[in-house]
């Protein structure tokens, strides 16, 4: 286990480094410069050049990257070239917001999808199975901006049951924040339910047809116990992997949801930074999302090894 952890840590550091180089290089390919983007098309060239010089955007690319990575590894994310404030002062709250939205979406979609998938598998071929599968597929096929707009219009504008914007006023308590996040969370549930439920269904069907399950039944173990002790822990292995891979999307890939619900998440911060060539903000934002993703997959691997003794005792590939 210790060797496993050390390997994963080393791999994570290398992954993040490669990611930072790729993003930095890609940013240089974007058109325009931060000075022109910030000052607008009607600013004279002298002002634009002055701005670029003040924020260090006219230095050689390698110098800019080296300067940034050196500060980053020492815990300093630098200053936003666009807003001239510390990157962390803007990214920090955005990341917290994204984590809150991801958490609420998670709490709703994971149990619901697993329940749906297991139920569909237990009633395989019957009406319940068909209904859950078709509903899940249909919801997945609908783009998130369509389902989001539907939810906004139905529940926010016509019924006025829920707020249409997810950003709560200052001083709102936890329950209030959850109410504000309910509509965007539901939009995410609609997107993710089908995929996770299908994985859970597939895993459950495989586990139900396995020898050990047949043996358990033949020993006289009750259905509920068989499901709980033998089927689920094996059925959920692929589901855990799928859920972990969705974490990156839930944290940093919700640009459309954040825009429609006017939510200050990290996705929007990264998008605006890319638009304005605010390299320091963009780099830091992408690395933060990458870090969260790596932590999530690491936790998923740990859970996997807890559920699968073959991993723990090192006898599996």
């Amino acid at each position: 286990m210790a060797r496993f952890l050390a390997n994963r840590l080393a791999l994570s550091i290398v992954t993040l480094f490669i990611l930072s180089v790729i993003v930095f290089a890609a940013t240089q390919l974007l058109p325009g410069d931060v000075g022109r983007n910030v000052l607008g098309p009607f600013a004279d060239q002298k002002s634009v050049d002055l701005y670029n010089h003040q924020v260090g955007a006219d230095r050689p690319v390698l110098v800019q990257y080296g300067d940034w990575i050196w500060k980053f590894v020492h815990g300093d994310m630098g200053t936003s070239r666009q807003y001239q404030v510390s990157v962390w002062s803007l990214l920090g709250p955005s990341l917290v917001n994204s984590l809150k939205l991801a958490a609420e979406a998670f709490v709703l979609v994971v149990p619901l999808s697993i329940l749906g998938g297991v139920t569909a598998a237990l009633r395989r071929g019957r009406l319940t199975d068909r209904a859950i599968t078709i509903t899940g597929l249909s919801l997945t096929a609908v783009p998130e901006f369509v389902s989001a707009i539907f939810l906004i219009v139905a529940f926010g504008v016509f019924l006025t049951w829920l707020p249409v914007n997810a950003q709560w006023p200052d001083g709102t308590g936890v329950l209030g924040q959850m109410k504000y996040l309910l509509l965007p969370s539901l939009a995410l549930v609609m997107v993710l339910f089908g995929y996770i439920a299908r994985m859970a269904r597939h895993g459950t069907i495989e586990a139900l047809s396995a020898d050990y399950t047949r043996t358990a039944y033949m020993k006289g173990v009750g259905t509920a116990t068989v499901i709980r002790r033998h089927v689920l822990r094996n059925a959920l292995l692929p589901t855990i992997a799928v859920v972990a891979t969705q974490t990156g999307y839930l944290i940093g890939g919700l640009l459309v949801i954040e825009k429609l619900f006017n939510y200050n998440g990290i996705g929007q911060r990264i998008y605006i930074a890319a638009q304005n060539k605010d390299v320091t903000m963009l780099q830091s934002g992408v690395l933060l999302v990458g870090l969260v993703y790596l932590v999530a997959t690491f936790i998923a691997d740990l859970l996997y090894s807890l559920l699968n003794p073959r991993i723990r005792f090192g006898s599996a590939e």
């Binding site: 910030v38 009607f42 638009q275």
Partner: protein, 563 residues
């Protein structure tokens, strides 16, 4: 008109009014100005309300009527949705985008203000006068105005502000208004409450340049430090900016020392939006009370909604479609005229703005300008367009690419132009870029050239131009031979000379004389198409009272209340 009032009016003309004011009154008396035009020009020249009223009465017009401001109950916090968010920091002299100018102008004020009717009203200056040549403008400052820091406003603060605005090396975005008009040395203190502007060139419409039209011209303390606007309240407005988070929002509290008294609102909460659907649904879902700017193309749900009030102001905001005059295929004026004649402007206005726009006639003289002369309106005429194409040797047409970027209704307009020119044989492909790519590259300006940026160097493109209270910037920057934003590379000595005369003209009669010649010249040469001038629109809940749309898109809340 009673005897005493007439006596005072005649005394004003004899001993107070200068040549400029008397010329204006003569124009009204001779019937060369209608009531609306007179009001606009009288406020521009700083005539007081009582004199304006007396003049109207003396020459047989309807007297001035002052409608009581529609006022709701005092109290309540106004929730404003602002789209898009500020692009960068909030130093007023750097404002170049809607988010910044809205944020800053809720807390700041200028020397005067342009109303939604195009007239000027006093704000931090109570009066202004020009010399006969319109080269020196003297402003009387309002006494007893305090900054939100507690200091009293004096001429020193106005001088410092305008030196910053006109400094060519200070990153001022107001140079587009003041370059060639006012230099830092031209701003001079006369006494504690008087400032004189000595202009580089005669400018009859100068008071508009000190008004909210130049949204960077917020008066700040003389010791203002760059980068502190969002950290310390230091405007003079009815509301203090007390917190600001980039990309998220800002909050304002009432300023107890405001010269105008106590505002009706308990405060303002400004929320930034980057998506039209989100801000529209926020208003419909009662999460905000007011939206700073809406467009017909993206806010249809608001129009004809019984719970929503649409605020509109006529202005000169437009889309410019320049065609490169110095290289094929548009180097022949007949081809440019043919393209202009292929457009169904009435249909375009209906389709894109639901008729909430004025028709353009291929000159920057929007109908809202009093100096504009109404020429016969250009309409779609395919037969004539084809004749012009044939005369230019292009009866078989040609291929060309139109470039624009993805914002507002620009892509839709591009598609409409593409379909329209197909009828005269032009195969037009579209290149729709992001705004970043469209404005990327260098802009050097003549005599070096126009750099590499697409918006100044493509054969035909569409660019959005903000509204102005007077057309001077359009003439000097986008059409003058040496104009830095001359996207059509138009070079006409006659145009340059006429534009210079227009800008220098003081009387409306002279301005119209030059305007007519300019309009005729531009219609002939057609370096660019001006398809429309759309109205500046805002939207709010019915409970918002006392709010008026601003021609430049500012959000002015000092007299706004909630029912």
């Amino acid at each position: 008109m009673d005897t005493e009032r007439r006596r005072r009016f005649e005394q004003y003309r004899a001993s107070v009014a200068g040549p400029v004011e008397n010329a204006l009154l003569d124009e009204l008396g001779a019937g060369e100005l209608d009531r609306a035009e007179f009001l606009r020009r009288a406020t521009m020249f700083g005539l007081s309300a009582s004199m304006i009223g007396a003049a109207l009465e003396a020459f047989g017009h309807a007297p001035l009527a002052f409608a009581a401001t529609e006022r709701g109950t005092a109290g309540g916090r106004l929730r404003v949705g602002c789209i898009p968010p500020p692009a960068h920091g909030l130093d007023p002299h750097t404002y170049a985008d809607t988010g910044s100018l809205v944020t800053g102008n809720i807390a700041g004020e200028m020397l005067n203000r342009t109303t939604d009717k195009g007239t000027l009203v006093p704000e931090l200056a109570t009066g202004w006068k020009s010399n006969e040549a319109a080269t020196v403008w003297t402003y009387q400052l309002r006494k007893g105005v305090k900054f939100q820091t507690g200091q009293e406003m004096t001429a020193d603060d106005v001088v410092a502000t305008y030196k910053r605005l006109t400094d060519p090396n200070g990153g001022s975005q107001a140079l587009s208004a003041y370059k060639g008009v006012l230099s830092p040395d031209g701003v001079q203190k006369v006494d504690k409450d008087t400032v004189a502007f000595h202009l580089d060139a005669p400018t009859g419409g100068f008071p508009f340049l000190t008004s909210s039209t130049t949204y960077q011209a917020i008066i700040l303390p003389a010791n203002y430090q760059a980068g502190t606007f969002e950290k310390t309240p230091q405007g003079t407005g009815a509301f203090k900016l007390t917190s600001y988070t980039p990309g998220v929002g800002a909050t304002y509290q009432p300023f107890d020392g405001w010269w105008g008294g106590k505002p009706a609102l308990d405060g303002v909460d400004l929320k930034y939006f980057s998506d039209d659907a989100a801000v529209v649904s926020a208003l419909l879902g009662n999460q905000i009370d007011l939206i700073n700017e809406v467009h017909v193309s993206t806010g249809r749900a608001l129009f004809n909604n019984p719970n929503v009030e649409i605020f509109s102001a006529h202005g000169a905001t437009h889309r410019l479609v320049p065609m490169l005059t110095d290289s094929p295929p548009f180097n022949d004026f007949r081809i440019r005229q043919a393209v202009a004649l292929s457009l169904d402007r009435v249909g375009i206005r209906k389709r894109l703005f639901n008729d909430l726009a004025d028709l353009g006639n291929d000159t920057p003289f929007a109908p809202v300008f009093p100096s504009s002369v109404k020429l016969p309106q250009r309409h779609k005429d395919i037969a004539k367009a084809k004749q012009l194409m044939a005369a230019a040797g292009e009866s078989k047409g040609f291929s060309v690419q139109l470039t624009t970027y993805k914002a507002f209704e620009l892509p839709l307009l591009a598609q409409i132009i593409q379909r329209s020119v197909k009828e005269i044989g032009i195969k037009m492909s579209l290149q729709i870029l992001t705004s970043t790519a469209y404005y990327a590259g260098s802009q050097l300006g003549p005599p070096k050239g126009w750099g590499t940026t697409p918006w100044l160097n493509t054969p035909i493109n569409i660019t959005d131009w903000g509204g102005r209270a007077i057309p001077n910037v359009y003439l000097s920057a986008s059409l003058n031979s040496k104009g830095v934003w001359n996207a059509s590379h138009y070079k006409s000595k006659r145009f340059d000379s006429l534009a210079k005369s227009y800008v220098a003209a003081v009387s409306l009669k002279d301005q119209r004389k030059y305007a007519k010649q300019l309009e005729l010249l531009l219609q002939h040469d057609t370096p660019a198409i001006y398809p429309y001038f759309y109205y500046q629109l805002g939207a709010g809940a019915k409970r918002v009272r006392g709010y008026h749309a601003d021609p430049q898109g500012l959000v002015y809340l000092s007299h706004t209340s909630l029912a």
